[in-house]
């Protein structure tokens, strides 16, 4: 199989690492070679964060570069826009329709761009969901990542049941059920 490249982008503190663990888990279960690359340290403090995931028969570099991503999973709108140019021509963006103002916007030094989803839709296949609202409805706002992951899973190479199994293995025991529900909500 040709190497497939996934990116998970968001704001430091949004929990991108757990999502990448689930993704890494299912890829390994499927028997592919996999490399993931994460951001730790300074960049986690509310900054823009990105996780790269690549899988296939044999993966060399651990990062996804401009023009290479098959799927971009964005936990926040502005971050989707920031990294959209990493997508391949026919790449897919899955966006959590949610806004977190960067400090540059809070202080008035910059303006938060309007109509991000519409603009991206002109160039790419865009799927948007307000995962935060959906997760709150399920009873745990923190499960929003898994809603978004569920939506992105439609564009990857693994079966639904395999996802549910990996979620069970990866997330803390108490949150298995809610994360599985959240996943299915996005996957429908």
């Amino acid at each position: 199989m040709m190497t497939k490249s996934i990116m998970i982008v968001g704001v430091g503190g949004q929990g991108t690492l757990l999502t990448s663990r689930i993704l890494g888990g299912i890829i390994q279960e499927a028997g592919y070679d996999v490399k993931l690359s994460e951001v730790h340290g300074m960049a986690q403090r509310g900054g823009s964060v990105v996780t790269f995931v690549r899988y296939g028969d044999k993966v060399a570099e651990p990062i996804v570069e401009e023009g290479q991503a098959d799927v971009l999973i964005a936990f926040e709108r502005l971050e989707a826009l920031r990294y959209a140019h990493f997508l391949k021509k026919d790449g897919v963006i899955v966006i959590n329709d949610w806004r977190i103002d960067p400090i540059t916007v809070v202080t008035g030094a910059a303006e938060y761009p309007e109509n991000i989803i519409e603009e991206l839709g002109k160039k790419y296949k865009v799927y948007a969901i307000n995962a935060m609202e959906e997760a709150i409805r399920l009873g745990n706002a923190k499960a929003f990542n898994t809603v978004v992951l569920g939506m992105a899973a439609k564009h990857m190479d693994f079966e639904k049941d395999a996802w549910l199994k990996v979620i069970e293995k990866t997330v803390p025991g108490k949150t298995v059920e809610i994360n599985q529900k959240a996943f299915l909500l996005g996957y429908r």
């Binding site: 490399k35 509310g46 809070v106």
Partner: protein, 578 residues
């Protein structure tokens, strides 16, 4: 079948140490090296500790090695500077049990104050360096490092980078090899480095490095991959992966040992390829040596010394491929202090009083940028206190009346203590604010000597920073709750006015520490809000303005510290239970 696991580079390094039979590990946290110790500690067979700084960690590892067991120290690249004193001389003494220093470089400056290349330090210290390219190699090279450490009687540096340390890949797990301790024999010609003995050991160092230059051509970690010989690359570490990505058909000399270089192997490779490139991140360490042997090659003429490399960089430089898609112009999202961070409170007061701060290394370095803009200098661990002292000695004590030094509790224990002793000894004045959040915050919450808990999780007596400052002779030491704005302001005014050295310990645990949860969240009361923006000034990310100018507080982000509430003049923010 052997178990396979997806492992972070740092986790694989820890696994390598375990399998190699390591018995002692010491470290000071620092991105991107921190998770090495956090994984080493999971193996009960290894004694693992957080030392107060990298020099101490290195010395702990050296002592363990002299006693006859395999030992390691791990640290980030700038930590190697702190540890360089013992490192340079351990190069002379050599080892008892194998001794490995894991040094984590940070090309691209993800979380560091400079972009230095540990290979340069290793060349100066005459210590061999291994550099893996993925998680599996990280584990394998760790074991090989211990082998050659013992065979050539030398400490070995395993060099990793942020990309390798923080990437995950598949690793095959093997059993731990338990090793008998080497019997200790007193040998002052080897372990007491006074001039006469050091002269003898210097000869050993030269011979050892010469032997490794020769033997290196046969080391399994150095590998020539001959394919199309019209183009050849000499590369190592993560850049090797970029070469394989873009030029899978090219010939590649992959160096697993980047110091000393296997000269014969390199000369042979160079003679077999038509066009030779040297592809190495940061400094031209391989390139300059190879060129000094009269070999024609292209390196830093077209590849930068700055930042991280990539496959696209190779595509641009060698294939002339430009990116089709341009990045959108979007507002930057730099890292910031978390909602509920006690440092924000301290900086709010310093800003109000128009006080400059000589800063240090930690989350509070973020106080340098807007909207807080309080920190004026950041150099290295511990430099806040000593550089403020230098300013005073240059300009007089009145000059620093509107200055303070700001340093975290972990950084204070690291090297700040030395600087403070110097201020006391050399009759300095000035105010030191220790922003004590009871943890090493930036690197992800590691304990230290003043938290009362070890890396292994044992509860131990915490070194009392207040009593420590008193004990070294400082009369004016004040402890203040970091969120008590009025008291903090009064205290800072009083202490900076003095003609004596003083210490303010601004205490409040890091808001991300487990169990440290404020019971409430802050909520705006729109009808009372006058839209003045006073609450927005500290730059808490949970606060924004609504379209009408009134204040909105994101309940999912607010940690309920109440700083904004204290700043509101119109009681337009209240607390509600979570």
């Amino acid at each position: 079948m052997a178990e396979k696991k997806i492992m972070l580079g740092n986790e694989a390094i820890a696994r390598g140490a375990y399998e190699a039979g390591v018995k002692v590990s010491a470290a000071y946290p620092g991105t991107p090296s921190t998770e090495i110790s956090e994984n080493v500690v999971k193996y009960d067979e290894i004694y693992a500790e957080w030392s107060p700084n990298e020099k101490v960690a290195m010395e702990v590892a050296i002592g363990a090695s002299i006693s006859g067991v395999r030992a390691m120290a791990s640290m980030k690249h700038v930590g190697v500077n702190v540890a360089s004193d013992p490192l340079y001389t351990a190069s002379y003494t050599g080892v008892g049990g194998g001794l490995v220093l894991v040094a984590a470089d940070d090309p691209g400056l993800y979380s560091s104050q400079n972009e230095q290349d540990t290979r340069c330090v290793a060349r100066a210290a005459q210590v061999p360096v291994l550099e893996p390219s993925d998680s599996q190699e990280a584990k394998d090279y760790m074991k090989f490092a211990f082998e050659i450490s013992e065979k050539y009687d030398t400490p070995v540096i395993l060099r990793t980078t942020t990309r390798l340390s923080h990437s995950q890949g598949t690793v095959t797990l093997l059993e731990r090899e338990e090793r008998p301790d080497k019997p200790y024999e007193r040998d002052i010609s080897k372990y007491v480095m006074m001039p006469a003995m050091a002269k003898g050991r210097h000869i050993h160092v030269e011979k050892r490095m010469e032997a490794m230059v020769k033997d290196g051509s046969g080391f399994p970690v150095n590998r020539a991959e001959y394919n199309d010989t019209s183009i050849g690359f000499i590369t190592s570490g993560i850049p090797y992966q970029y070469v394989k990505e873009v030029f899978p058909e090219a010939s590649v000399l992959k160096l697993g040992m980047v110091h000393p270089l296997p000269r014969k192997m390199i000369e042979e490779f160079a003679s077999k390829v038509e066009k030779l490139y040297i592809f190495e991140e940061l400094e031209p360490v391989i390139e300059e040596q190879v060129k000094s042997w009269g070999i024609q090659a292209t390196g830093k003429e077209i590849f930068t010394r700055q930042g991280e490399y990539s496959a696209n960089m190779l595509r641009r430089a060698l294939l002339g491929e430009e990116m089709q898609q341009q990045p959108a112009q979007v507002p930057a999202r730099p890292p910031i202090l978390c909602p509920g961070c006690p440092h924000r409170s301290v900086f709010t007061v310093l800003k109000k009083l128009n006080i400059h701060a000589a800063g240090d290394i930690g989350c509070y370095t973020l106080g340098a940028v807007a909207p807080l803009s309080v920190i004026d200098t950041t150099i290295c661990m511990g430099a806040s206190i000593s550089s403020l002292h230098g300013m005073e000695k240059a300009k007089g004590k009145d000059y620093i009346k509107n200055w303070v030094a700001v340093i975290g509790d972990s950084t204070f224990m690291h090297t700040g203590v030395n600087s403070l002793m110097n201020t006391v000894y050399n009759q300095g004045t000035g105010t030191v604010i220790i922003v004590d959040n009871s943890t090493t915050g930036m690197t992800g919450h590691q304990d230290h000597a003043a938290t009362g808990k070890t890396l292994k999780g044992e509860i131990v007596p915490a070194i009392d920073i207040f009593r420590f400052c008193k004990a070294i002779g400082i009369e004016h030491v004040v402890e203040v709750n970091a969120f008590d704005l009025p008291l903090l302001e009064k205290t800072i005014k009083e202490e900076t006015a003095r003609d004596e050295v003083s210490v303010i310990i601004a205490k409040s645990p890091c808001v991300l520490l487990k169990g440290n949860v404020f019971p409430d969240v802050c909520v705006p009361i729109p009808e009372k809000c006058r839209k003045c923006g006073a609450c927005l000034k500290p730059g808490c990310p949970a606060l924004t303005r609504n379209k009408d100018g009134s204040i909105a507080i994101d309940a999912t982000m607010c940690n309920g510290c109440g700083l904004c509430m204290q700043l509101c003049h119109f009681d337009a923010i209240a607390k509600e239970p979570k």
